[in-house]
Symmetry: C2
DNA sequence: TTTATATATTGCAATATTACGATTAAAAGA
DNA sequence: TCTTTTAATCGTAATATTGCAATATATAAA
């Protein structure tokens, strides 16, 4: 039905999947990579750097913001976007845990 | 248009986003967590462990398999699913990189 | 105040995803 | 062979996502 049964899963599972899902699009990966590359935080010139129209990028930025992966500071007419470390820490800690569990039980599987 | 413009992004961005996207659903997070919990690899009793119907889980497993995050070994009538470490290594290495870049440029941002 | 600039929002078309009942396929056992 | 068991596939309904043109909004500059 196109509708995820969120109520059937834990809050942690839902929260994690929302953050991870926000990175499940090449444009949003590209936005994050761009924000990492320019070493101060960057404004709307993300639009110039990506091959998508301004409204599309604005929408992607909104999703990244909702997921807690990006912050936006208004500065006059423009907006300064930058990475929200807290979100990335949460994701990283999940994958770190997966990795260490896999290390422990090395070779038990297929 | 509901269609991602993959051709406008790098192969790495596309591949990473496909793997990450596969984890962008609470059921698929739950499947991975389940596979980590049972310390030998587990078969179709994932269906018993999750609050979704068998065809739905089969579909989620297929997506995880396509993304290279899970492997399935046929064993008679049943199938033994387990985590594909290689996929998780790739994802982890992305988030490790993000983390270390963020460490370097501590406090430059918003 | 008018104008220019930068972003966000709206509305919509095309496509993708989620979920599951019904069915099929494939191997094991009677 | 027939039956049972397990998992995949098909078909379909409901909903979500992607992308952009057009438009709105908001601040700065003239």
């Amino acid at each position: 039905m196109g509708v995820t049964k969120s109520d059937k899963f834990t809050q942690e599972q839902n929260e994690l999947s929302i953050m991870v899902k926000a990175l499940g699009h090449p444009a949003r990966i590209a936005i994050i990579e761009h924000l990492l590359k320019v070493n101060s935080c960057i404004c709307g010139d993300i639009v110039g750097a990506l091959p998508l129209a301004q409204p599309t990028i604005s929408q992607h930025l909104k999703e990244l913001k909702n997921a807690g992966l990006v912050k936006g500071d208004v500065e006059g007419t423009s907006v300064c976007y930058c990475i929200d470390e807290k979100g990335f820490e949460k994701i990283k800690s999940f994958f770190d845990t997966v990795h260490s569990i896999l290390q422990e039980k090395k070779d038990e599987c297929c």
